[in-house]
Amino acid sequence: MASLSGMRRREAVAFYLTISPWLIGLILFTAGPMLISLYVSFTDWDLLTAPTWVGLENYARLLDDPRLWQSLKVTVVYTAAYVPLELAGGLSLALLARPRLRGIGIFRTLYYLPSVLSGVAFVVVWLWLLNPRGGLFNLMLAQAGIPGPRWLLDPQWALPSLVLMSVWGWGRTMVIYLAGLQNIPAELHEAAAIDGADAWARLRTITLPLLTPTIFFNLILSLISTFQTFTSAFVATDGGPLDSTLFFVLYIYRQAFQFLNMGYASALAWLLFAIILALTLIIFRSQDFWVYYGGERAE
C-alpha cells in the first residue's frame, strides 16, 4: 500500500514537472500580465511618467466615448455578417467537395489555398482586387456595363468590402466540416433515401443535425477570432474612411501605442474580454437547444 501511494506521489510530481514550462509561462505571460493590466486600467499612465491612480475613471469614460461605441458597432456588425457567412459558406464548400470523386483532392486543395495566405499579403491582394480603377472587381463590372463602387474607399462600402474578403477564408471551416461529415454513417442516408427522402430532406434531417457539434465548434472559433479583427483594418483602411472600419482592437491599439493612454487602453481590453466571455458563455449554454451529441447529453 505504502509503495502504491509512493508511486502515485511520484507520478503526481512527474506530472507537475512535465507541465511546468506551461505553468511558468501561464504566470509570466498570461496571468501576471492580466493582473498588471487590471491594475493599469485603474491608472492614468503614458509610460513616460509614473502612473497615477484614478480609480474607476477609465471605466466611466467608456460610457461617453463616441469612438468606442463606433468601434463596438463596427465590430458587432462585421461579426454578425462574417460569422454566419463563414459557417454557411464553409459548409457549402464541404458539401460540394465531399464526394470522393476522381481529382477531388485537387479541388479541396485549391479551396483551402487562400486560407494559408492570411496576414498582410492577403489584405494587400484584396486592396488591389478592390481598387476602384484597376481592380479585378471593377474591371469585370465595367465589362458588364455596371459602374463599380469605390469599395474600401467609400464609407458605405468599406465594411461590406471587408466581409467580402472573408470569402477567401472559407476553406478553413470547410476542412473542419469535411472531417465532421466523415463521422456521419452513410447507412442513415441510404435508409432515408429508400424511404423516399430527397437530397434536401436528407440534408435537413440527417446531415445538419448530426453536424451540429462541428457547427458549434466552428461558431466558437469564428466568433472569438472575428471579434479580434485587426490586420485587415490596420492594413487595408486604417479604420477609415470616416471611422467606418474602426474595429475594436484597432481602437485599443491606437489608445495604447499611438496616444499612449495605457490606462484607458487596458480598460478597453477588459471590456473586450468581458464581451467575448459573455458571448462564449451564452453560446455554450445554448448548446442544449440545438447541438446534438449522438445520444449523449451536452455537458
Partner: protein, 287 residues
Amino acid sequence: MSDADPAHERYLLFPRGWALLIRYALLTIVALLFVVPLIWMFASSLKPEYQIFASPPVWWPSPPRWENYVEALTQLPFARFAANTLIIAVGSIVGHLLSCTIVAYGFARLRAPGKGYLFVVLLSTLMLPYPVTMVPLFIIFSRIGWINTFAPLIIPAFFGNAFYIFLLRQAFKQIPLELEDAARLDGATTLDVLRYVILPLSLPALAAVAIFSFQSSWNDFLGPLIFLQDQSRYTLMLGLSFFRGTTQINWAYLMAASLVTVIPVVVVYFVAQRLFIEGIAFTGLKQ
C-alpha cells in the same frame, strides 16, 4: 466506419451521369473563384506601370516584365526582412516543439490531483483575447529591454501554446498504453518513453504543430508591429505593410513583393497539406 461498406459509399458518394457532370461543373466554377484572383495577382506583378490601369484592361502582360521582382525587392531591404522572419519562425518552432511535447505528455498520460482543473485552465486560455495581455506585455518587455529584439516573439514559444498542447495531447492519447508499460518494465525513464515510444509514433501531429507554428509566426503582424521598431528588425509582413503605406503605390511592385513573401507558406502547404488538414480536423473533432 463508412469505409467498411463500399456499396453504401458508392450509393452516396459517387454521383453518376448528369449529377456527376453538374457536380464537376460546380466544383470547377468555385475553384475558379478561389484561383483567378491569384492568377490575376501574378499577372499584375508582371505588368509595366502603364498597363496597370490600362483601359481596356490588359489580362496578361506581353512581354511580362520580370524586372518588377528585382526592383520591388530592392526598394526595401526585403532580404533582411526575410532573414528576420526566418529567425523568429525557426526559434518559435523549436520552442513550441520542445515545450508542447513535454507538457502534452503530462496531460495525456500522468495522473495527479488538480490535473482536470488545470486542463480546463489550459483550454480557457484559448479564448483569452490577445489585446488583454498586449499592453502589459509591452510594458514588461520594455522594462527588461526586450523591445526591438526578437525575444518577445520567440521566448514565449518555449513556454508552450495551449492550442498545440491540446493537439499533441489528443495524438498522444491514441498511442496504446501497453507500449509504454513495456518500455517502463525495461527500466525506461519518462524521457526515454517520450523519445523512443511517444515521439516516433506521433510524427504527423508533431509535423502539424511545426507547420502551424511556422505559419502563424510567418503571418504574424500585431506582435512584430508592437515589439519591433527599427526597420532593420522588420519581418516580411511588417515590411510589406510599410511598403503598402508608402505614398506612391506601385501595384505591380506590391503584388510582386506580396507573392514572394507568401511563397514559403504556400510551398509548405503543398508539401504537407495532408498534415495541415489532418491537424485541423484532429483538434476539432476527436475529443
